[in-house]
Symmetry: C2
Subunit: 651 residues, 2 copies
């Protein structure tokens, strides 16, 4: 055993946040606070000091901030995260011999005991401390030590020990001997958009405003002002690659297609190319790059679909047959994601002997599009590909392309979804789509924000997707969609919608299924992109509020309020150290006017010390003054199903 270990008398346990014992990184974006807690204690009764250490990965020296004991040997420290990149943090603690001596000195002084020996001991410690510091500090230590040693200055020396200046010095320049250091834990800081993003999804082939032809990237460029006008910052397209011919799907998921049917964009690859090619019906690669740049000029990122799977016509099938699992009859079993069957898609066989080349090729697809300006990928069914592959891909990306965001499209079991987030997906589709009542939503949001998920799982709330038309929305009018929209947009800092069907209230289902009838997955559609509708107006208003107010740029600040009507869901969003914030109240009943008494949380009211609150509804500009804990609210879903109150102290 090394002396440095044998002499380290402080125990550091249970450093947190920590994900799987440190196997995976805690996630933050720039300017967020990382609060670190640890259990720290020494043997005996000596005084312990502790620092939180942090550094960019690869650096040798640490930055540090002091930690304080909360209670019962639990300590807290924090730092504010910097620019995107990989970081590390740890806790350092030691028996502070000077503070221990100072503590004993003061006790003896109070008891009127002689302090001669104590002054001698203090002089020795100060000389040790002097050896660790420079300039003015060193001088102060040495002069003070000399004072302690000179018998004729006894009273002066005692007064110095008891001075505030001296105490401040020994706290700020600690004597770190026999230091204990905890396990070093990983942190990744990602761009702000990893937390705050507003997604809009449509099929480029449905972008044409000319009903006689299907849409192209040029049509998409023409729609960018529409997207911008609604307030979205991320425009996501289903795959834009050549579509296979073999087993092409027909209208409404028919396993047989008629000539001229366009097929599912997820059946990627044909004689025209694979994942690095563009479906010529949409345009050229140059058109696509032009679109990416035009969007970027408006502050919109184009998000690309990353679906690692192949149509039977994909060039890989001939060029790399070893990447597929062939059956004794020379066929490959088509892909499934029960209960869905993808007869037009072959899965990749990840356990093949040529896996290294396969992984590199899959990575090169991402890099290909990064080079063309794409930095956001929505990953199709990642839970049907090995976790270890994603872990590798994400770590490669963190090193070379820290700006890239991957959204995990895994609607599956909780631990599987969580694992994908742990291995590095920056965002994840969520159960929001199926959380309908206020109680369900509160429970789910509290799970996302108050459990360990908080540190690595960033939920993206979607009321609908091309794959999912939830029963709740089927064959309904404005208020159902408005409720789901407001909930997604105000509960989560990232949300998205499959459009324009959502805003146009197009919601006829396949009977008995949570799927769209005449789904755009299998056919081209033409939409009214221009009409002003109440839902479009609500979407632009709420997105503008989200954009303007930082309370909506995190999900971690949601605090639910009690109400006496389960149909009325209400929650505060208040940032730390702020004396204003938001109160959102949603009538969950799409049919009836509902009212409730709702309670502002005691902590919140206490913080405001009974002062009266000014509430301004940013949707209808109405004003209210509240000065009690319980307050009355009423909402008619046929008008607007929610209040979005800006709450301020009425000073």
């Amino acid at each position: 055993m090394k002396a440095s270990i044998a002499k380290a008398r402080v125990v550091i346990e249970n450093v947190r946040p920590v994900i799987d014992h440190g196997a995976f990184a805690v996630k933050r974006v720039p300017g967020e606070i990382l609060e670190v807690k640890a259990d720290i204690f020494g043997d005996g009764h000596d005084v312990v000091s502790a620092f939180l250490l942090f550094r960019k990965k690869g650096q040798k020296s640490w930055q540090q901030s002091i930690m304080h004991e909360i209670a019962n040997d639990e300590w807290l420290g924090h730092f504010i995260t910097g620019e995107p990149g990989e970081y590390e943090y740890a806790v350092s603690a030691w028996i502070d011999n000077i503070l221990t001596w100072h503590h004993g000195f003061v006790k003896k002084a109070d008891a009127g005991e002689s302090l001669l020996v104590e002054l001698q001991t203090g002089a020795g410690l100060l000389k040790k401390l002097a050896a660790t510091c420079k300039d003015a500090d060193k001088k102060y230590c040495l002069e003070t030590a000399a004072l302690f040693e000179s018998a004729e200055h006894y009273n002066e020396a005692v007064a110095v020990v008891r001075s505030a200046q001296f105490e401040q010095m020994i706290c700020s320049i600690p004597l770190r001997e026999n230091e204990s250091i905890s396990q070093i834990l990983p942190l990744v800081v990602e761009r702000k958009k990893a937390v705050f993003s507003t997604w809009y999804e449509f099929f480029p082939r449905s972008a044409s405003q000319d009903k006689k032809r299907s849409g192209t990237f040029k049509d998409c460029i023409a729609l960018l002002p529409h997207v911008k006008g609604l307030g979205f910052d991320t425009l996501y397209f289903p795959p834009i690659h050549p579509i296979g011919v073999a087993h092409r799907k027909g209208k409404n998921n028919n396993t047989v297609s008629k000539p001229g049917e366009p097929g599912s964009p997820w059946a990627i690859g044909s004689h025209l190319g694979g994942h690095k090619s563009i479906n010529p019906e949409l345009g050229t690669e140059a058109d696509f790059v032009e679109l990416v740049q035009a969007a970027s000029a408006l502050g919109i990122d184009i998000a690309m679909d990353l679906a690692y799977q192949c149509s039977p016509d994909h060039p890989y099938v001939k060029e790399h047959p070893q990447w597929f699992k062939w059956r004794p009859d020379g066929t490959v079993q088509y892909a499934e994601n029960p209960p869905k069957k993808y007869q037009d898609v072959l899965p990749i066989y990840f356990e093949n002997e040529d896996w290294k080349n396969l992984w590199e090729e899959l990575k090169s697809i991402v890099e290909y599009w990064i080079e063309r300006g794409v930095t956001i990928f929505r990953v199709d069914n990642p839970h049907t590909k090995p976790f270890i592959f994603w872990e590798w891909l994400m770590s490669e990306m963190r090193k070379d392309h820290p700006e890239v965001i991957f959204l995990s499209e895994a609607f599956t079991r909780p631990k599987v979804m969580a694992r994908l987030a742990k291995v590095g997906f920056q965002q994840s589709y969520s159960y929001f789509t199926w959380r309908q009542t206020g109680a369900e939503l509160q429970k789910y949001v509290e799970e996302l924000t108050n459990t360990e998920l908080r540190d690595y799982f960033r939920a993206n709330f979607w009321p609908n997707t091309p794959d999912i038309l939830p029963y709740y929305l089927q064959n309904t009018g404005h208020s159902h969609s408005a409720i789901r929209f407001v909930l997604a947009a105000t509960l989560a800092s990232s949300y998205g919608m499959y459009a324009p069907v959502f805003e146009l209230l197009v919601n006829e289902p396949m009977p008995g299924k949570e799927e769209y009838y005449n789904s755009e997955k299998y056919e081209v559609a033409h939409w009214d992109w221009k009409s002003h509708t109440p839902l479009r107006e609500l979407i632009s208003k709420v997105n503008a509020i989200r954009h303007e107010h930082s309370e909506f740029h995190t999900m971690h600040n949601v605090m639910f309020c009690k109400s006496d009507n389960e149909n009325m869901l209400s929650y505060l969003k208040i940032n730390a150290n702020s004396d204003s914030g938001f109160l959102i109240v949603v009538n969950m009943d799409p049919v009836h006017r509902q009212s409730c008494w709702l309670q502002l949380p005691e902590t919140f009211m206490n913080a405001h010390n009974g002062e009266s609150l000014l509430l301004v509804d940013l949707l209808d500009k109405s004003h209210y003054n509240w000065n009690r804990q319980w307050n009355f609210v009423e909402l008619d879903p046929r008008l607007v199903p929610a209040h979005i109150f800006r709450v301020k102290l009425n000073r």
Copy 2:
């Protein structure tokens, strides 16, 4: 990356029990069950199989037992622990290609699809499996593969796949390809006494039945039948080494002693020797060894006090001055454990440069007494010595002396006590001494048995010690002590008492303190060892019940019952898979008769399906028949404050 990692598609997370990420060993005794849980899942929809692996440390090959999914990707496995020693366990899991194929086969067969290709695939898998097994299994695999491949036996082949024999075979001889293995976690199996022990403490110098002289080891030998008669299996003595003269304490902790006063046994060391010597007033080393052997013959272990500290006269002070922390005036600060001051004791300075020799010497003390037959040590104030030293000492002991038990005498903050248990102390003093109400006790016992403490912290319940006469017992009669005794002896599998003051109801305190007046720590006493008293009778009865019934040999089986009177604490102790057990009811009020309706837990009643229960109180032999969930009980503390019911199904 290795192919074995890249191809392993199963994730194993959150293997538990686990202590501090595997830094410390989970503890068991022989024959206990280690239940291991883990979160296990693969990508996609293939069938996963998992084994729990375990082995003695140092062995290469694993034993294994199959794990089963409970729900939601959480799996469970278990094994029964063997002889004392160091063990390891881990979880192994893999995508089971044969089970996956079988699952698909049955689905297709049910759907009436052609199975020709499936049979070919199955034949290939069986040939792979054949390569991993021998003899009859190998033959069966190869013959079955041949059958699958022969087109003319199609129907027979299909029937084989669907047969129970085939399914059993592919479950019991799994095809383990691309296996994932979790972190390997440590387990230590210790002798049964680490969990089940009954302690009796007295001062050997008070063992004399001749009032004219102080006690010796020979007097202790004469008292062994008394100890045995009361039912104790562990006899613990305060230190038996020479006592220092400098700063010797007088009666009632006086900092000045009169000539002839014996001093505190914890002021170890004089010109007569140190920790490897015997106080000549007690006898010789040969006398001590004779005592150890005589006790052993009666099934009693002698437990020795291990107090790593020195009187100023200890030989170490002159021989190894570097092991003490000298102040500028040439003195050493005496030991403290606030608020207690030990003016007659010097602490050891563990951070000294000669720490290696110090550690070896301290270890040699333990080994010295192990060689003389001692295998149990009660360690004095371990929390005032470095945790890293204990961690090292305990690991040395686990290797060379796995039979040795250390009891941690740390009455301090929870995390400090827990850390000592983690680093290896087999038993720990506990907060029982200050948990007085039924609600307090239930909460504490549930913390010990239902949290992670369960796996490493073995509480020893003491109603009193030479250092602690709790307020509850001060100046009280029989029923107070009887209540505390019954609680300690039936809630905990290890408990102890400082005697014979406890059984003789000697409980006069130092006014205002939780300390004994005329404490034996500072003087010699003479006691009545012979009278039969109600408390002595109760102690022997309860210890006999504890000894006879395995329900009392663990603390983990305590299950509290609801009652409508907070003064009536009731709890079941039932071992897993047993249809009988114990119900203990204690009247916590030492003064008044109390009664209650108590509820047997629903799980317990359900398990017994409404059958009637026979209850026999092993204290007074009374019989009861219960067939309802709620039942009436009454107890008079002046008679006996508890029922100890043996509960059996009345079949």
